[in-house]
């Protein structure tokens, strides 16, 4: 079966700037993180939440992108799949990012937490609160850690299967691999749906353990997918301009990437608004209290800013057809969306921090910037290391030949 080389591809060295700038960012970021750890562990844990949710977005989102490519047999996305495959290495960063949070939860198990973050970790509070004691079978320290680690393990397993097979295919050119991967992708989809929902619920929603929103997992997923497509677009467009991708990437490929970013920007707004409107309409105190602090004082402006940052600006920047094929615009929108995703995570999690500090004003300082810089550079750094000896496109894939001739 089809064991023949069908596409011409020459592996070129990665741009030197990638490794240089990502390591500089990594060192600066790490220094800031260590410095903030010596000052205030609680603040560090909250800022690490930004890093962790971002890294999980990249790692899980990349796997989702890969699975989507396999399961739908889509043509246009195949040349970019390898970038996603290399990005799945971000999963190795997850334990580092989550370390401050998990360490504290681990200590809470013995009742000696260093600082206050998740309300439900305090046994006395839980015992006195009928809601929390009802939720305790799910929301307790050991099951939290168990779930988190289990999700990492599952992601790593699927990374080895899906990505490993694809690497092997570069040499074997075995077309059957596509079928095998499609089958595993189908299983992965179910695992993914549960994993990403639980990640969002555990790390972000349980900051306010009384609050619940059934759409919350999808809310995080919408941001996640926009973020991963933006990441892939950013890398792919840069690489393509430097000639690192394969010959044949044309504006129709760009259009598809731009289309996804546009679509998920809109989808996020749809979900975010649905969540808000239903809670606003039903007007039940146990749901509305989550939005109340976000609609008061400075937070009110930041919430309005969220609509602009996460929706209106990228929407306006990419609604026109030519803007989805213009490389400059694509890079701009991609960077914007990545930033917006982190802003969104901050907007979801930081009001709790303000609440713990008994103030209404928001917190955003060098601690947060440091951690975000650390997380983003780490992702790029890991990408650069992993991409060193790998082809940037899956040349062995059965769909590659059609993929580079892709036209809308």
């Amino acid at each position: 079966m089809g064991a023949s080389i069908t596409v011409e591809y020459v592996k070129k060295a990665l741009p030197s700037g990638l490794i240089k700038w990502s390591s500089i960012g990594l060192i600066v970021g790490l220094a800031l993180v260590i410095f903030s750890a010596t000052m205030d562990m609680q603040r560090l844990a909250f800022s690490s939440l930004l890093g962790y949710m971002f890294v999980m977005s990249i790692a899980m989102g990349a796997l989702f992108f890969i699975a989507l490519d396999h399961i739908t047999g889509s043509i246009w996305s195949t040349p970019f799949r390898r970038i996603a495959e290399i990005l799945t290495n971000a999963i190795w960063l997850a334990p580092i990012m989550a370390a401050p949070i998990l360490y504290n939860i681990f200590l809470e198990m013995g009742g000696h937490g260093m600082f206050d973050m998740y309300h439900w970790t305090h046994d006395a509070v839980v015992a006195a609160d009928p809601f929390l004691s009802q939720k305790a079978p799910y929301l307790n320290e050991s099951s939290f850690i168990f779930r988190t680690v289990l999700i990492w393990v599952l992601m790593i397993i699927f990374k080895f299967i899906l990505v490993g097979n694809s690497y092997k295919q570069d040499k074997t050119f075995n077309h059957k691999t596509n079928k095998v991967n499609a089958a595993f992708s189908a299983i992965f989809m179910a695992v993914f749906a549960v994993s990403i929902t639980l990640t969002a619920i555990d790390f972000m929603m349980s900051l306010e353990p009384h609050w619940f929103s059934t759409i919350f997992g999808i809310y995080y997923f919408a941001g996640t997918f926009a973020c991963i497509v933006a990441m892939i677009t950013l890398i792919a467009v840069n690489f393509n301009e430097k000639g690192l991708m394969i010959e044949g990437i044309n504006k129709d490929h760009y259009y598809s990437l731009g289309g996804w970013m546009f679509a998920f920007t809109t989808f996020w707004m749809y979900i975010a608004f649905s969540q808000f409107m239903l809670i606003w309409y039903a007007n039940i105190p146990e749901e509305t209290f989550w939005y109340m602090p976000r609609m008061e004082g400075t937070w009110a402006y930041l919430s309005i800013a969220l609509i602009f940052i996460k929706f209106l600006v990228p929407f306006g920047l990419s609604i026109q057809r030519p803007s989805k094929t213009n490389p400059k615009r694509l890079k701009l929108v991609a960077m914007w969306i990545i930033g917006a995703h982190i802003y969104d995570i901050w907007w979801v999690s930081y009001p709790t921090y303000s609440h713990l500090k008994e103030t209404h004003s928001p917190f955003f300082g060098w601690q947060e910037l440091g951690f975000v810089l650390f997380a983003i550079s780490a992702v790029f750094f890991v990408f650069a290391i992993a991409a060193k000896n790998k082809n940037i496109v899956p040349i062995g894939d059965a769909k590659m030949e059609r993929a580079i001739n892709f036209h809308l």
């Binding site: 129709d252 608004f273 409107m277 309409y281 007007n283 030519p322 036209h407 809308l408």
Partner: protein, 392 residues
């Protein structure tokens, strides 16, 4: 065949590749041409050198226009014309409007774009095209790939194009002619068939809407909206201990911004209350409207005491007599609010402002039709003194 009747020259190709090549080639020289394929061929836009369509701008403009109109309409109906508190939300409940605005944008954008295509581009009610009924159309809607160049194109030359198509590998080349009646066809909106058809559709739609709203909705099993498992007013309730399904507000409940009426006798009302409104034109109009609605059945249209109740009830007295001219506004107010004898109180039906307006209106009727009452200077002075005391 006469030359004027030629619409286009068409060519059929057997493979998608050859049609791409042909489109690429033809588009360099000709403007008025089109390609027809059985399915969308990827990359055809580029081969035909089509510029990005501008229909999106039309769609978004019309969508946003209708959205703004809808927003205004919701604002007007919910907070201007018929303000009503629903679920404790503000009159202008923006979040609740967003889904409607969203749907309206999409609906009108899509529907009106198609409507514009049909009416402007296809010149509705025209529904004919020279390509219809041609062998060419039959071929391209099954398994062939077709291209045609219109005779209107400035570079059109039949024999040259024929040669060109043959060289590109066309499996057949053929001319397409207008039908005789199509040549001089002018759109005629008053075409009887069209008019009758439109009226027919209108009647059918109205009929079916009427049937739905008035009959079907009340028939089993479509009446699930009408007959619900809920307590209606006046029904006995098994749930509440007192057996009433209609609940009363707890004793002492006062609506926000509302001060309850506090006088229990006409005298105290007369002593302590002054008319806070001015008998402006607007105010009198309101008073007239409310008087005709609520008071005229018993007191007559001109407050002359001519009841329309045909003896089922004793008529109200003539309110223009000297006796009533001497009533203070406060006393009138008390009567309207609490009623008198057989006349019921209107506290729950007529707002305060309206009650005062009615009084102003009755005063006007008294001035116009009643016997004039001459008051001495002292009486007037005395009257106003008491009022000032009361208001302090």
């Amino acid at each position: 065949m006469i030359k004027e009747n030629l619409y286009a020259i068409s060519a059929l190709f057997d493979t998608p590749d050859s049609i791409m090549k042909a489109a690429d080639n033809i588009s360099t020289e000709y403007k008025r041409f089109d390609v027809n394929t059985p399915y969308p061929v990827h990359g055809m836009d580029d081969a035909m050198k089509l510029t990005p369509s501008r229909i999106g701008y039309f769609t978004i403009s019309i969508g946003l226009f209708c959205m703004s109109f809808m927003l205004y309409f919701m604002y007007w109906s919910n907070s201007v014309d018929y303000p009503q508190v629903i679920g404790g939300k503000p009159f202008f409940a923006f979040p609740a409007y967003v889904p409607i605005m969203f749907e309206i944008t999409i609906l009108t954008g899509a529907v009106l774009s198609v409507a514009m295509m049909i009416s402007v581009l296809f010149k509705f009610p025209n529904n004919a095209h020279p390509l219809h009924d041609s062998g060419y159309m039959k071929a391209v809607s099954s398994d062939k790939y077709g291209i045609y160049v219109e005779a209107k194109d400035s570079n059109f030359d039949y024999s040259k194009l024929e040669k060109q198509f043959k060289e590109l590998g066309a499996s057949s080349v053929s001319p397409i002619y207008y039908d005789e009646e199509e040549v001089d066809w002018k759109p005629n909106t008053w075409d009887p068939k069209f008019v009758i058809g439109t009226i027919g559709i209108a009647i059918l739609t109205s009929f079916s809407v009427y049937m739905h709203m008035n009959k079907v909705l009340f028939m089993v099993p479509f009446d699930w909206m009408m007959n619900q498992e809920r307590a209606d007013y006046g029904e006995t309730s098994e749930f509440f201990a007192d057996g009433y399904s209609m609940r009363v507000a707890p004793v002492g409940t006062i609506a926000r911004g509302f001060i309850p009426y506090q006088y229990d006798s006409p005298d105290s009302a007369s002593k302590y209350m002054t008319n806070p409104t001015v008998a402006s034109e607007h105010n009198l109009e309101l008073g007239q409207r409310k008087f005709l609605t609520y008071c005229s059945p018993c007191h007559g249209n001109m407050a002359e005491g001519a009841s329309r109740l045909k003896g089922n009830m004793p008529p109200g007295p003539d309110l223009r007599t000297e006796f009533y001219q001497n009533f203070t506004d406060g006393r009138f107010y008390h009567t309207i609010t609490k009623g008198k004898g057989i006349m019921a109180g209107y506290e729950s039906q007529i707002t305060r402002e309206e009650r005062w307006a009615i009084i102003n209106y009755i005063r006007t009727l008294q001035k116009a039709f009643g016997t004039p009452v001459v008051k001495t200077e002292e009486e007037i002075a005395e009257n106003s003194e008491t009022k000032t005391e009361a208001s302090e």
